[in-house]
Amino acid sequence: MSYLKKSPWIIHYDGSSCNGCDIEVLACLTPLYDVERFGIINTGNPKHADVFLITGSINEQNVEVVRNIYNQMPDPKVVAAIGICATSGGIFRECYNVKGGVDTVIPVDIYIPGCAVRPEAIIDGVVAALGVLEKKAAALKSMKASA
């Protein structure tokens, strides 16, 4: 039985967001929504994190950064793209400096569209991400067992 679902630690990164989605993410941590009830802690350290919450689209400057942070997270991990900019580039998609959504750099497991995305949607999406995380953990365990 994987404890990932009971203790998902998140790292939150702002790609190029206008901060609207970031504020909504942080609102989830406040007493009004209190995601610590689910054992969620916002650690700023990718090495301690299970869930990668990214807001904002990907541009030249943050391609390597996002890749670095993703690589520094231990398995099993999931990525949740928060807001429409992270999902697909949003209204900035056609801009010359925007490469697109997060999936242009790293594999995304959950897309949570919105502009700005509502806290309820974030929580819903993160809970769904936990399901994906559980599946990944199980796959990892069976891979280790068979190896």
Partner: protein
């Protein structure tokens, strides 16, 4: 025989007690912040999850130091709870602390390095108080051994109130609570990312967490020792002290290392040393 049981109880039950203490800590903290907070067993879920994660490292040596840290904390507790020498306990705890600092130095990363330096500053801040505590207890009970100190017929805090106050002051440092959680701290405080534990992941982080639980139980043991002759008073003191620490944690923001070192040494000096001198004159 009694010591063997005590050692076994320490090794097996202390992490459980430590985890529950951590859980209670988080719930009370959450309630103080008008939140609901996690379930009581959340710290256990955290550690079990950590042990299931992939163990990534920066270099081959770093996890070794943290394992040594855990081993020596456990050894220190075995020493203390089996009634051993109090001074040796304090020195063994220092060994454990040194391993923790070395583990943080090893990856040569900016955040963990500053965390390591601050850990050393913390150790420099509280070490005099711990030794003064041992000295005070010896002066009153004429014994260095924990079992004889615990068996003293009176409440030690009556003879050593100043030393106890000094201990409370540095307990905040040792328990890694604001305002003195300089080197690494739990959830929410991200001044240095995670400070000393930045470069540790998965099982290594779980080991560190376990070691901290053991350490917290040991520290509560120190508090207990001041009230040992009356176990009801002692348990109450532990509970009140822990609640006080949580309260202080939530009321203060992190302060500087300069303040930490200076205030610890001065508080130790004023309360602890004066207490020792008074005891020396009263108990000829």
């Amino acid at each position: 025989m009694k010591s063997a049981i005590a050692i076994l109880a320490w090794v097996i039950l202390a992490p459980i007690a430590g985890g529950l203490l951590a859980g209670v800590d988080r719930i009370i903290t959450a309630r103080m912040q008008s939140r609901v907070g996690p379930p009581l067993l959340q710290p256990f879920y955290d550690v079990l999850k950590l042990f299931g994660k992939q163990g990534i490292v920066v270099n081959a040596f770093q996890n070794f130091y943290m394992i040594c840290f855990l081993v020596f904390v456990v050894v220190t507790g075995c020493l203390f709870f089996s009634g051993g020498d109090l001074l040796l306990t304090i020195f063994a705890l220092a060994v454990a602390g040194v391993f923790f600092a070395l583990g943080a130095f090893s990856p040569n990363s900016p955040y963990s390095n500053i965390g390591a330096e601050r850990e050393l500053l913390q150790m420099m801040a509280y070490e005099p108080v711990l030794i003064i505590m041992a000295i005070g207890m010896y002066m009153v009970t004429k014994s260095w051994h924990v079992d004889e100190i615990a068996g003293f017929h009176n409440l030690l805090v009556g003879y050593l109130p100043g030393v106890f106050v000094a201990l409370l002051f540095v307990l905040t440092i040792k328990l890694r609570k604001s305002p003195f959680d300089l080197s690494t701290s739990h959830h929410g405080h991200q001044e240095l990312v995670k400070g000393a534990t930045t470069e540790f992941a998965g099982p290594a982080l779980g080991v560190i967490e376990l070691a901290h639980w053991y350490e917290n139980v040991l520290l509560m043991g120190f508090v207990y020792l001041f009230f040992a002759s009356n176990w009801i008073a002692a348990i109450s003191a532990v509970i009140v002290t822990y609640f006080l620490e949580i309260f202080i944690d939530n009321t203060f923001a992190r302060l500087t290392w300069r303040f930490t070192v200076k205030s610890s040494w001065i508080v130790a000096g004023v309360f602890g040393v004066v207490n020792l001198f008074v005891v020396a004159f009263l108990i000829k």
